[in-house]
Symmetry: C2
């Protein structure tokens, strides 16, 4: 575990709620005051997988104690901690659904002295396009989307989500497992010979990234035809490992955008990109190559703001005195 710790910024500030984004492999935690201001932040790699072994309650209390949280402080959580493999399965809200209403239905963990609640996930109960999300709904709530109008939201990651938001409600969404495909192909397929043992993060300016992304954008999401070409390029053209990784990344991200455009974002001229760091840079490049306008919202910030909003929707902190 490599936690980062920042103590209360102002002596005398009183936390009103602890907020956690608790994913499969990582978690982030904040102490928030009654006005929505961050008093402390902490990160850990004791996500769902680790917490299943150590115990969710123990992991949570460890982080809260390290931040100096009072024993009665309520806790709001989003992410995979609310999945079937998590602490408690928070029921799904079925789309279409207004984003505010999703947050309001947080499920309370039984048998704990604290008030601990987990934000529901979203379910799309279509026979031919079933889909689910957990965690991204909270990012959406914190992304500052307009109350009126139609937005296409791209949330890249292990399982990238593309969401159609209409007038502040989630109308529908789709999942492209782009990050997972990259990881499992790099580690377990024949492409591991091409990419090497520890592929470097891909540079958005890498020529191969741009070229393969550009080509994939014109193929409507058909990426499987080109996967083996990366191996063949290594054998026939002595392609380097870093460039091979850039090809795979460009192919998969370009393919995701082309596919999402066909299915989820037909006619869109711009998207809201909720992402952070290196991934945000790659997707900005790729969406630009696709000719789409991009408004980027920082994902780390969005989930925190969404959690504060969830605490409010569930009556854990007051609605007044909002200071984002």
């Amino acid at each position: 575990m490599s936690p980062g710790f920042a103590g209360p910024r102002f002596v005398g500030d009183v936390p009103a709620v602890a907020a956690l984004d608790w994913g499969t492999t990582r978690l982030r935690a904040w102490l928030i005051d009654g006005g929505g201001k961050v008093l402390a932040e902490r990160r850990g790699d004791d996500g769902l997988i680790t917490a299943r072994e150590k115990g969710f309650s123990r992991v949570l209390e460890g982080h809260l104690a390290a931040m100096g949280a009072p024993e009665t402080l309520p806790v709001i959580i989003c992410g995979m901690a609310g999945s079937r493999q998590g602490w408690l399965e928070a029921p799904y809200v079925t789309v279409p659904a207004p984003i505010g209403a999703i947050l309001a239905g947080a499920a309370r963990i039984p048998g704990e002295s604290r008030d601990i609640r987990i934000v529901p996930g979203l379910a799309q109960r279509l026979a031919d396009a079933p889909d689910v999300m957990r965690g991204e709904e909270t990012q959406l709530a914190g992304a500052g989307l307009p109350a009126k109008g139609r937005e296409i939201v791209c949330m890249p990651g292990t399982h990238s989500k593309w969401v159609l938001v209409k007038d502040g409600a989630v109308a529908g969404f789709g999942t492209w497992p782009t990050g997972e495909l990259f990881s499992v192909l790099a580690a377990h397929s024949i492409l591991r010979h091409s990419l090497g043992e520890h592929p470097e993060p891909v540079d958005p300016e890498n020529l191969f990234f741009r070229r393969w992304c550009d080509a994939a954008l014109n193929e409507g999401g058909d990426v499987t035809a080109k996967l083996f070409s990366i191996r063949a390029a290594g054998l026939l053209q002595d392609m380097k490992a870093d460039d091979a990784a850039a090809c795979l990344s460009g192919l998969l991200i370009g393919g995701e955008i082309a596919s999402a455009r066909r299915r989820q974002a037909a006619g869109a001229i711009s998207v809201v990109l909720i992402a952070s760091g290196a991934l945000a840079a790659l997707y900005r490049q790729a969406l630009g190559l696709a000719g789409l306008g991009v408004r980027t919202v920082d994902a780390d910030e969005a989930v925190r703001v969404g959690l504060v909003e969830a605490a409010r929707e569930n009556g854990m902190i007051a609605r007044t005195g909002v200071a984002r």
Copy 2:
């Protein structure tokens, strides 16, 4: 290792050559007489991966001894044993190339008392579609393709090949890593939760296989958008593991056919399917759903016939007295 052994069928038959299809994980070996007739057959799971540890020569001699092959019997080999990770890298023949000419260029293993040769692979040296094959060129040679006309050949497997053959020459080909995608997604992605630890072989009549294949055939090769739906169907619709495996298989095979049709088989109304066993049945079903006529050639038989042809092309057995 689970070798199968059949001794010489007729006492007095004299082997003229030993033929091996030596792949990544398996090998098959035959003793062939001067007329091309099979005198003995043997199978082992000491493919490339095992042979790299045990030594290729030792593995080969073990199988030859078990079949009672004379010490001076020449050996013809095709498959991944001729790759860079294999016994000796047999150079690639660049396409377009006549199939007969490919076989003739077998590379001789140095430093062995026997005459041991490995059939070259094929390379497609196109800047935007580099590709390679090893082993399938020998199947092509043994598939009894007509000397004149245009054929689309589908050779499904770990790395499925679609080959355009014109007047007995390989004009071009593409690779779809369908079998590998199924394996790595079933074992290493989130879909492992849906498919269970040991997915059963997929039944071509399974309703989910047919439905997902049919849907994928209409999506031009865009499969990544639907992968996560298999997981979501498990969560929301209690889909069973066998059906989830059928969905994944149908999606990937349907996607391969749709993609290959766009790229390699535009306008084709029928294909030659070189495949064996369960895989042949799945692809026959899928190609039928695609509305394509199918002529099936048994892959096991084709590679053996192709190896005999390679032995002839390399002067290891006589051209006369052919008895396939």
